[in-house]
Symmetry: C2
Subunit: 290 residues, 2 copies
């Protein structure tokens, strides 16, 4: 996994540099919102989505460091940050901490958190426009909308404290988390102009990895301590969130995560050695619970 | 002004039909957010921005009813609605009524209002992607961002209850309101593929009309009754909002609005008879305070 560590560090360095360039300076008027956008954008996430864009792009023949790929990966990170800021609001999940730091509305205020989230969403589309690929803008908008991420968030919130079945949990995870992860993989492949067949196989990989990611997150929320995870744990159970462990138990959740990761590996077998980074990223998700 | 009434009705009918087609059905899962998006989209606004897109498009040689123009105008209306939903939230302007109806967070709930606003913003970009014009996506993203509408909203909220100068009020109005109105005019012209010179003149028209629109809105907030305006009036003064009447007085505000409308007329003099609808739209804004 040493290769993966190097890759993840390279992506993080490159994305931090690109975001530094794309986000307005804190000194640019009005400064408060730019401070918030930067605070939340540099809050120390692992940048899984950017890693998937870059790994898919490289696996399909793209060169690490190509400006359009870095811009697309940065735009997707902005969109992920936008969703986290709004998710943490008092009227939504009401979280005070994320990654060990106060959430945006705690560090600034609620109005600025709503507007800062909005601004990151809008800036992401501006950055995507600069890439000049209509198909990629469409791809991302569809992944984010009510048939994707936002739809998942709605059902997540509306399911709180209710008895839900496995199908509902799968809907939430497929949309709230997997839609943007799947789109990240697809965007990397699309930027490398792959064939339809290759795109289909990578879509399946993205789907399996995206779902595994959320199942593992649910398991960690039950099993970890607040200290190791950097955010308040056990919150899912407290809030009556619809999670995999809640509907099928911890053991079956772990087995399911394992199965999803194995499926994701066979999805990209056809890429041979070029699949290594994508495989390692999937494995990295799995080892968090092993 | 009879011609204008017919034009405004035609635009409203066409945009309502287009939005009906573009917005997900209330029966589409998850239904609650689609209900909210439709509730706020069909809340009875005058669709000034859509009128400006269509009037500019026609003035520049486009045909009323062209699908791309109707889609662009509808996307801009979605973006305007997104901004109103978030603006009305308790942590922002905390308004319970708009156009005589309960605001989105009152009719539904806060979480759904945040997500419904987000979803309208994202759907607008999906619709714009379907038009296939990168330059128009870029235009609108820039108009909405922290150098435009969102920037104006930030300064508006941060100026509440403070002594502000005329320059600050002009910044707020130029960005919070005029940026999207100017972009509406520009998008209509861009869809008709006008020359740079024509686009520059229409940009100036859009700027003047956009600023006039907000100055008139401020005057109406001070002078009208809640009944005639359909929303709670006098709220600006109550909240210590930065408005033109507050910094230069009512009489000077009226003179300034008049001056802006006259400027907007001379901006489009070069279009001859084809400027009639755009002129009438500017006049329509002015007569609200005459």
């Amino acid at each position: 996994m040493d290769d993966l560590k190097v890759f993840v560090k390279d992506v993080n360095d490159a994305i931090n540099g690109t975001l530094e360039r794309l986000l307005p300076a804190e000194t640019a008027y009005p400064g408060s919102i730019h401070s918030l956008m930067r605070y939340s954008s540099f809050a120390g996430g692992k940048r899984v989505r950017a890693c998937l864009v870059m790994a898919a792009y490289e696996a399909c023949g793209g060169n690490f460091g190509d400006d359009n790929a870095l811009k697309a990966a940065s735009a997707i990170e902005m969109l992920h940050t936008f969703s986290l800021i709004h998710d943490d609001l008092p009227c939504m999940d009401d979280d005070d901490f994320r990654r060990g730091k106060p959430t945006a509305h705690k560090a600034f205020n609620e109005a600025l958190a709503v507007l800062g989230g909005d601004a990151l969403c809008i800036l992401a589309f501006e950055v995507l426009a600069d890439i000049g690929r209509i198909d990629i803008i469409k791809e991302i908008a569809v992944a984010l909308g009510t048939g994707g991420m936002i739809g998942g968030q709605v059902v997540d919130i509306e399911s709180e404290g209710k008895e839900v079945d496995k199908a509902t949990v799968e809907y939430i995870h497929n949309n709230k988390t997997a839609a943007l992860i799947r789109a990240s993989v697809r965007v990397g492949a699309m930027l490398a102009n792959v064939s339809k067949d290759t795109l289909d196989r990578l879509t399946s990989y993205g789907n399996n990895v995206g779902l595994a990611f959320q199942v593992v997150d649910d398991i960690l929320d039950e099993e970890s301590t607040t200290e190791t995870l950097g955010k308040t744990v056990g919150r899912d159970g407290e809030k009556g969130k619809a999670t995999f462990p809640a509907v099928v138990g911890i053991d079956e959740s772990k087995r399911y995560a394992q199965e999803l990761i194995e499926k994701s590996w066979s999805d990209i077998e056809f890429l041979g050695d070029k699949a290594n980074t994508l495989k390692n990223l999937a494995e990295f998700i799995r080892v968090r619970i092993s």
